[in-house]
């Protein structure tokens, strides 16, 4: 096997790590504050679509920003339902996912190419030339964000407040913290990161949108959050692990020898996710008030 194949694998892994890490970091922030958003998959899907459209209109940066804005908007909607209206978070998340499935498939048909929309090369984010080959600049963002999030959660007052809201909303409320607003901000921020990850998929990585572009990454990010135990640095590690196995599947298919049917190769990331998650559960603990709407007595 030639050296370039190994280099390929490393490069794809780095790219595959980005959406999972970004989404997981955002969800870690949201879950720390006590909201469990399973609509991440839908956010990735819609923002990939919106990001691609915006990039086509105004260039890659506009595309990424539009993706972030879309993610923020959905995160905002989710947290209004979950925090202010005391909605069932699971149901709201499922609703987002269903909506996204329909919305993106519908939009792709409207664009004239059912199931596929290519982002013009000029509208794609330029990749950096490195000794490893062409790398998307967002790889470095994804490597940095977890550290910033870690510092924020562990070292700042706001991070502490976030934790209090997730662990014991009553106490936080008594201490003068606006529980619902805090949750709203945290989940909206999480939505923004997921939106960036979605736009990254279409604008900076694949250069196209399909109705299955998210391919379970939102749920793999949820699994990463479980793996991390709400520690963003472990979230990065998880993102790298899951990104690697996703790429391994892609990479095996590029090899000249075809020994296993592609269907089994494609199962790999999901099987690994299951194995990893079932290995770590029990070790991690989550905020006490996770998933429970806060109602003032």
């Amino acid at each position: 096997m030639s050296w370039s194949y190994v280099l390929d694998l490393l490069r794809i892994s780095l790219h595959a790590m980005v959406p999972i890490t970004l989404t997981a970091t955002g969800e870690i922030i949201g879950e720390t504050a006590g909201l469990f958003n399973i609509g991440l998959e839908g956010i990735l899907l819609i923002s990939a679509f919106v990001g691609a459209l915006a990039a086509g209109a105004g260039g890659p940066i506009v595309g990424l920003l539009a993706g972030m804005a879309t993610g923020m908007a959905i995160g905002f909607l989710f947290s209004v339902i979950a925090a202010y209206w005391k909605g069932t978070q699971m149901v709201a998340g499922i609703g987002i996912n269903l909506f996204a499935l329909g919305f993106v498939a519908f939009g792709l048909i409207k664009l004239g190419a059912p199931g596929f929309h290519a982002v013009p090369v000029a509208a794609q984010l330029v990749k950096l030339r490195t000794p490893l080959g062409a790398l998307s600049p967002l790889i470095f963002v994804a490597l940095l964000v977890p550290f910033v999030a870690h510092w924020f959660l562990k070292r700042t007052r706001a991070g502490l407040i976030l934790k209090a809201v997730g662990e014991n909303p009553e106490a936080a409320d008594v201490a003068g913290v606006n529980v619902n607003l805090t949750r709203l901000l945290a989940t909206t921020f999480g939505g923004a990161l997921a939106g960036l990850a979605g736009a990254y998929l279409s604008v900076a990585w694949f250069g196209s949108v399909t109705k299955e572009i998210s391919a379970g990454r939102g749920f793999i990010a949820l699994a990463t959050v479980v793996f991390s135990g709400l520690n963003p640095l472990l979230g990065l590690v998880g993102g790298i692990i899951f990104g690697f196995f996703q790429s391994l599947a892609t990479w095996i298919k590029t090899l000249p020898t075809k020994t296993i049917p592609w269907q089994f190769v494609d199962m790999l990331p999901y099987i690994v996710t299951l194995l990893v998650v079932s290995g770590v559960v029990g070790r991690v603990r989550f905020p006490k008030a996770l998933g429970i709407p806060y109602k003032r007595e």
């Binding site: 399973i38 839908g42 909607l77 339902i81 979950a82 202010y84 209206w85 005391k86 909605g87 069932t88 978070q89 699971m90 149901v91 709201a92 499922i94 609703g95 987002i96 996912n97 269903l98 909506f99 996204a100 499935l101 329909g102 919305f103 498939a105 519908f106 048909i109 409207k110 619902n180 379970g216 749920f219 949820l222 699994a223 479980v226 049917p261 269907q263 089994f264 494609d266 199962m267 999901y270 099987i271 996710t273 299951l274 998650v277 079932s278 290995g279 559960v281 029990g282 003032r296």
Partner: protein, 381 residues
């Protein structure tokens, strides 16, 4: 209602009151459906369609005549079953979003009846049983991961959906493939098909399978001790445990029962929905039935009877959507139906939906107050 006990008018009033209170969930479902349809209308308008004409086409295509109603029911059949998957597990305290994968695997198992011969009636039963067992087996994975390792079922069922999907892709492409027609599996023989119920329509006897299973779940959950345990464990696990109920047992049971329902949905689709009677490569006729079932379950308030009604509604959306997408000058893609479904589910997530609008108005006033630099009004909750 106090004070008029004993008076006949009072009793009547109380009866009306109780009926209306009992109908409250149904009213909320209707309200959610209206909200979802409105969201769909707004989106259609933005994308340049005429929403009213589109909905008119959808309505006529769904319930405009006996043929349309029959095909709406036919589209609702698998949704009843996948909806039950979600509902049973929710009653047992879990979010099983694995109906999709379990249904794929069930459908693939049902196709296996093509490889052996049996007398007509028995052949159908064999296919149904195969699918039920396959669905149950596929649901065992997430169930055991939850019970032994504590893996959250939302993550594990989704992963099993993807694994199941690729597994069935593989089976369709290499194992069950029709030697003469490479893009689909072998066809289910005549003796193993659900006979068509209304001539010239898609509606087959599989509808009885769905209704019977819904009634079975209803009786099981609400009229047996086991069902009581499942629901008790779902409502308050700690109290149920003190009451001597084995949570693991009820969880396993609801997962298996859900898997059976999803497997049956697969069987009902490949054995009872003309004209293919086979799984086509890419699974177009199966895709998303499991996810749509979740919407059906929620709108049906996770109650078997409610699910039957909701499935008729969503089946109508699907059947009507098929008409809508070819409707003259205003062809709205079928995917709009799923957009509407998602919006309905989002609306269903909001408890006391009816109170949201006054609350929204209050927030609006508070916002205006804040913007005009007055002291913000306390949140009206």
């Amino acid at each position: 209602m106090t004070g008029n006990e004993g008076q006949p008018g009072g009793r009547l009033l109380r009866g009306v009151h109780r009926t209306l209170t009992g109908l409250h969930p149904a009213l909320e479902s209707v309200l959610a459906a209206v909200v979802g349809l409105l969201v769909g209308a707004v989106l259609m308008y933005i994308w340049g369609y005429d929403p009213w004409r589109a909905y008119w086409a959808l309505l006529r295509g769904a319930y405009g005549g006996s043929y349309e109603i029959a095909s709406s029911i036919a589209r609702g059949v698998p949704l009843v079953l996948t909806g039950l998957t979600f509902a049973i597990c929710l009653r047992g305290g879990m979010f099983n979003i694995g109906a999709e994968g379990q249904m794929y695997v069930g459908a693939a198992a049902a196709v296996c009846v093509a490889y052996f011969k049996l007398p007509p009636g028995l052949h159908v039963v064999a296919g149904v049983l195969l699918a039920a067992v396959a669905g149950a087996v596929w649901s065992l994975g997430p169930a055991l991961l939850k019970l032994t390792r504590g893996v959250h079922e939302v993550i594990s069922t989704i992963m099993f959906n993807w694994i199941g999907r690729f597994l069935v892709f593989y089976l369709v492409a290499y194992v069950l493939v029709d030697a003469r027609q490479g893009q689909r599996t072998v066809q289910i023989p005549l003796s193993a098909r659900f006979p068509v119920l209304v001539r010239g329509t898609d509606l087959s006897y599989s509808v009885f399978l769905a209704v019977a299973f819904a009634l079975f779940v209803y009786v099981l959950l609400w009229h047996t001790a086991t069902g009581y345990e499942v629901r008790a464990a779902g409502l308050t696990p700690t109290a149920a445990r003190y009451g001597g109920i084995s949570i693991k047992r009820t969880m396993l049971l609801s997962f298996i029962l859900g898997g059976v329902a999803a497997g049956l949905a697969g069987a009902a689709t490949v054995m009872g929905l003309p004209p293919t009677y086979a799984i086509i490569s890419g699974l177009p006729q199966l895709m998303n039935l499991g996810f749509d079932g979740m919407a059906v379950a929620m709108v049906g308030r996770n109650h078997p009877i409610g699910i039957l009604v909701a499935a008729l509604f969503f089946g109508g959306l699907n059947a009507g959507g098929r008409v809508m997408q070819f409707y003259g000058s205003n062809p709205v893609p079928l995917e709009m139906v799923r957009v509407v479904m998602g919006a309905i589910v989002l609306a269903m997530a909001i408890p006391e939906l009816a109170r949201v609008f006054p609350a929204l108005a209050a927030s609006g006033r508070a916002l205006v107050g804040m913007l005009s630099r007055k002291r913000p009004v306390e949140e009206a909750a």
